[in-house]
C-alpha cells in the first residue's frame, strides 16, 4: 500500500514538473515571438533634375493597431536582388525615412526586361523584426525646352525610356505634371499626358519670377509604377518681373532706429549738453575775468 502511494505521488510530481517545464518554455517562446514588432518597408525611386538618383525608404511598424514611423533604424540599400552591390546605408529620421543619393557613376544593373532593381533591407533588432523591399524601375529621362510661336509661349517636354541597348524609347500615355517652386512647396500649374514621348503646355505668363523675371519650371512624372518619380527643370525669364524695393527699414527690430527716435535724441542731447557748454564757457569767462583784474 505504502509503495503504491509513494509511486503515485512520484508519478504525479514528475508529471507536474514536466507540465510546468513545458508550460514555462512554451510561454517564453510565445513571449519572445510576441515581443518583436513587425516592420514594413516602402521604397521609392527618384530621378532628380540634377541627374542624380535617390532611393528613399520608409520604415513603419504597428503600435496599438496604428501604423507609426520607426526612427533611428539602420537601412541598407542594394543594387540588385538578393543583396547585390551595397549602395549605401542610412538611418531613418523622425518620419521613419532614410535615403541615399547616387550619380551616374553607379553602373546600373538591369534585368532582362530592362528594369533596374533596387533592394532595401532592415536587419531587425531585439524590438523589431527584419523586413525588406525591392523596387524595379526603368530608366526614364526628361528634357525641357521653351519656344514662342505667334507670341504664344510654350513648354516642350520630351520624355523617353533608356532601353537595354541604350536606345531612347519615347514614353507614351504617361502622366506628367508641371510646377513652379514657391516659398514652401511646388505650385502645380498644368497636368498632362505624354504622347509619343512629347508634351506641350502653355507657359504660365501670370506667375511672377525673381527680380530678373526668371521663372523655374519643374516637370515631373510622379510615382510611376515603371519609372518611379522622374523630374527635370528649366529656367527662363518669361515670368513677370518681381519689383523688389530696396529701402532702408527703420524700426525697433531693425539696424537703423526710427527717425523720430533719432531726432528726439539729437534734440534732447543738444539741449542738455548745450547747457553744459554754456556753463563751462561761463567758468572760462570767470577765469578770464581774473586775468582782467590782474
Amino acid at each position: 500500500m505504502k509503495k503504491q502511494v509513494i509511486s503515485t505521488v512520484t508519478l504525479i510530481g514528475r508529471v507536474s514538473i514536466l507540465l510546468f517545464t513545458v508550460f514555462f518554455y512554451t510561454n517564453n517562446i510565445v513571449a519572445n515571438t510576441i515581443k518583436k514588432e513587425k516592420t514594413r518597408l516602402n521604397l521609392s525611386y527618384f530621378y532628380n533634375a540634377d541627374n542624380t538618383s535617390t532611393l528613399e525608404a520608409k520604415l513603419t511598424t504597428k503600435k496599438d493597431e496604428r501604423t507609426v514611423s520607426s526612427p533611428d533604424m539602420p537601412i541598407l540599400f542594394y543594387l540588385g536582388v538578393d543583396s547585390g552591390a551595397l549602395i549605401g546605408k542610412a538611418i531613418t529620421d523622425k518620419d521613419g525615412k532614410a535615403s541615399v543619393t547616387f550619380g551616374e557613376e553607379l553602373e546600373m544593373l538591369r534585368d532582362t526586361a530592362g528594369y533596374l532593381i533596387f533592394y532595401v533591407e532592415f536587419e531587425g533588432n531585439d524590438e523589431y523584426k527584419s523586413s525588406s523591399k525591392d523596387v524595379a524601375v526603368k530608366e526614364a529621362r526628361l528634357e525641357m525646352s521653351f519656344f514662342q510661336r505667334d507670341s504664344v509661349k510654350s513648354i516642350l517636354l520630351k520624355a523617353w525610356e533608356v532601353g537595354t541597348d541604350g536606345e531612347n524609347i519615347p514614353l507614351d500615355k504617361v502622366d506628367i505634371s508641371f510646377y513652379v517652386p514657391r516659398t514652401y512647396s511646388l505650385l502645380e500649374f498644368s497636368a498632362n499626358e505624354l504622347e509619343n514621348g512629347e508634351c506641350i503646355v502653355a507657359f504660365p505668363t501670370d506667375i511672377p519670377g525673381n527680380e530678373k523675371g526668371e521663372l523655374t519650371i519643374i516637370a515631373k512624372i510622379v510615382d510611376s509604377d515603371d519609372y518611379g518619380t522622374v523630374s527635370t527643370k528649366g529656367i527662363i525669364n518669361w515670368g513677370t518681373n518681381l519689383e523688389v524695393v530696396h529701402e532702408a527699414h527703420r524700426g525697433l527690430g531693425d539696424v537703423d532706429a526710427p527717425l523720430w527716435m533719432v531726432y528726439t535724441l539729437i534734440v534732447l542731447m543738444s539741449g542738455v549738453w548745450g547747457h553744459y557748454v554754456y556753463v563751462l564757457y561761463s567758468i572760462y569767462m570767470i577765469k578770464r575775468e581774473e586775468k582782467n583784474i590782474d
Binding site: V255, A257, M261, V272, H275, S282, I283, I286, E289, E290
Partner: protein, 455 residues
C-alpha cells in the same frame, strides 16, 4: 581775493576738519579700507571663477548688483531735488545742506554704474556699447542718460564749490601743499568780483534748471529697462513716475541720514537745525504718501487684471513663505513709518526723523529687490528645472561683500570730500548770530530814521 572777517571766522570753524582727522575718523577710515579690500578680493574671485560665484543663473539673470545700481541712482536724486528745485525757489534753509546733497548725487552716480560692470559677464564687450549700440535699446538710453547726468552733476557740484575753492586757495591752511594747485585749478580764477558773481549765479541757475528734468529723464529711462520688457511684474506704464517718486523718496531719506551723521560728527548743530530735519521730513512724508499711492495702484491693477503670470508674481510677493515679510517691510513699514513720525509733532525729533529716514532708505532697497528678483523667478515659459539655485535666487557672499564694498566706497568718498572741502558752503550759509546782528542794525537804523523825521 579779499575775505571778510566773518567768513574767516566761519572757515576757521571748519578748518580743523580739513586739517586734522580725529581718532574715530581714523578708525572709520581703517574699517572702510578693510571692507573695500575685502570687496576687491571678492571681485578677484568673481573675475577668476566667473559669475558662477554669484547667485545669478539662467532663470534669475539679475541679482543684487542691479538692485544696488537702481538704489544708488535712486538716492542720487537728492542733489537734483534739494539743490535744483530749492535753489530755483530761492529757499534759504537749503544752504547748509545743499553741498551734502550735491555730493550724494555725484558719489552715488559714480558708484551705481559700477554695479552694472560687475553684473556684466564679459567686460571686454563693453566697447560694443559704443561701437554697435542701437538707440532703440533702453539700455543705450540708460548709458546716455546716466553719462549725461553724471557730467551735469559734476559741473553743478563744481560751480557750487568755486567760491569755497577760492576761499581755500587764499586762506593759509595747515594742509599738504599738494592741495593748493588743486584748489587753484578748481577755483577757476574766482576773485569775488561783481561780474564773476553774476556769471556764477547765472550758471548755477542754468544748471539747477537743467538738472531737474535731467534727473526725471534718468530715472524714467532707468525704469523703462524694466517697463519696456514684456515680463509680468515689469511691463507697466506706471514704472516711470513710480521710479521717479521712489528716487526722490530715497534721495531725501539718504540726505536726512547723511546730514544727521555730519551734524553729529562735526558738531554742526548751529547750521543744521531741527528745522532742516522737519522740512526734509515733510518732503519725505509727502513723497512717502505719493509712493504709497503708486505702489497701491500698481499692485491693484495687476491683481484685478488676473493675468496668470501677474498673479504668480503677486503670489510670490504676498506669500509669507516667500517674500511676504520683505514686502510688508518695504511697502508698509518703509512708507508708514516716516508718515507717522512726521505726522505727530511729539515724534518729530531729529533722531526720530533720521531713524525713519534710514528705515525708508533700507525699505526702498528691499523694494527694488522685490521688483527684480521675484519677477525673474517667475519663468515666462514653464520651466522643467529642479535645481534650487536656478529656481530661486540667493545672493552669495561675493555679491554681499561687493554690496558692502559699494556702501563703504560711498562713505569713503564722503569722508574724503569732507577732508578736502567744507561740508557746508562757507559763502552761501550765513551765521545765525550775524543774521541777527544785521536785522538789529537794520531795525536800529530804521528807528533812527523815524526819529529824525519826527524831529
Amino acid at each position: 581775493m579779499e575775505i571778510d572777517i566773518k567768513t574767516k571766522e566761519k572757515l576757521s570753524k571748519f578748518s580743523h576738519h580739513l586739517e586734522t582727522t580725529s581718532v574715530p575718523g581714523k578708525i572709520l577710515l581703517g574699517v572702510l579700507l578693510l571692507v573695500i579690500a575685502w570687496a576687491f578680493y571678492a571681485l578677484l574671485v568673481q573675475i577668476i571663477d566667473g559669475h558662477i560665484v554669484t547667485g545669478m543663473r539662467d532663470n534669475v539673470v539679475w541679482g543684487i548688483y542691479i538692485v544696488n545700481f537702481i538704489f544708488f541712482i535712486g538716492i542720487s536724486y537728492a542733489g537734483a531735488l534739494i539743490s535744483g528745485i530749492l535753489h530755483l525757489m530761492r529757499v534759504e534753509w537749503r544752504k547748509p545742506i545743499i553741498r551734502i546733497a550735491e555730493i550724494i548725487t555725484v558719489v552715488s552716480t559714480i558708484i551705481g554704474p559700477v554695479y552694472i560692470l560687475l553684473c556684466m559677464g564679459k567686460l571686454e564687450r563693453l566697447p560694443h556699447l559704443l561701437l554697435y549700440g542701437r538707440i532703440q535699446s533702453p539700455i543705450i538710453w540708460d548709458v546716455i542718460a546716466i553719462t549725461t547726468y553724471l557730467t551735469g552733476s559734476m559741473i553743478f557740484l563744481h560751480i557750487a564749490l568755486i567760491r569755497d575753492f577760492a576761499l581755500l586757495r587764499d586762506t593759509p591752511l595747515k594742509v599738504g601743499k599738494w592741495r593748493q594747485p588743486i584748489y587753484r585749478f578748481f577755483a577757476a580764477g574766482f576773485q569775488n568780483t561783481p561780474k564773476q558773481n553774476k556769471i556764477l549765479d547765472r550758471s548755477t541757475d542754468v544748471m539747477a534748471a537743467i538738472i531737474i528734468p535731467l534727473a526725471i529723464i534718468v530715472h524714467s529711462v532707468l525704469s523703462w529697462i524694466f517697463g519696456m520688457t514684456l515680463r509680468p511684474g515689469w511691463h507697466s506704464t506706471i514704472f516711470a513716475p513710480y521710479f521717479v517718486v521712489a528716487a526722490v523718496f530715497s534721495g531725501t531719506g539718504a540726505l536726512i541720514c547723511v546730514i544727521w551723521v555730519f551734524r553729529k560728527a562735526y558738531h554742526l548743530e548751529e547750521y543744521i537745525t531741527q528745522k532742516h530735519f522737519e522740512y526734509l521730513g515733510m518732503i519725505l512724508l509727502v513723497l512717502g504718501a505719493l509712493y504709497g499711492y503708486f505702489t497701491f495702484s500698481e499692485y491693484l491693477t495687476s491683481w484685478y487684471g488676473s493675468a496668470k503670470w501677474e498673479l504668480e508674481v503677486l503670489h510670490k510677493l504676498f506669500s509669507f513663505d516667500e517674500y511676504g515679510w520683505a514686502f510688508v517691510f518695504a511697502v508698509y513699514v518703509g512708507i508708514l513709518l516716516p508718515i507717522v513720525v512726521m505726522g505727530f509733532k511729539r515724534l518729530r525729533t531729529i533722531n526720530n526723523i533720521a531713524f525713519a529716514s534710514l528705515i525708508a532708505v533700507i525699505a526702498l532697497w528691499v523694494k527694488r529687490y522685490l521688483i527684480i528678483i521675484p519677477t525673474l523667478e517667475v519663468p515666462l515659459l514653464p520651466m522643467q528645472e529642479i535645481r534650487e539655485e536656478v529656481i530661486h535666487y540667493t545672493a552669495t557672499w561675493v555679491e554681499r561683500v561687493l554690496t558692502f564694498g559699494g556702501i563703504a566706497f560711498f562713505i569713503l568718498f564722503f569722508f574724503l570730500f569732507s577732508k578736502f572741502v567744507p561740508i557746508i558752503s562757507i559763502f552761501e550759509s550765513k551765521d545765525k548770530k550775524y543774521i541777527t546782528v544785521i536785522k538789529k542794525e537794520v531795525h536800529v537804523k530804521e528807528t533812527e530814521y523815524e526819529e529824525t523825521i519826527e524831529k
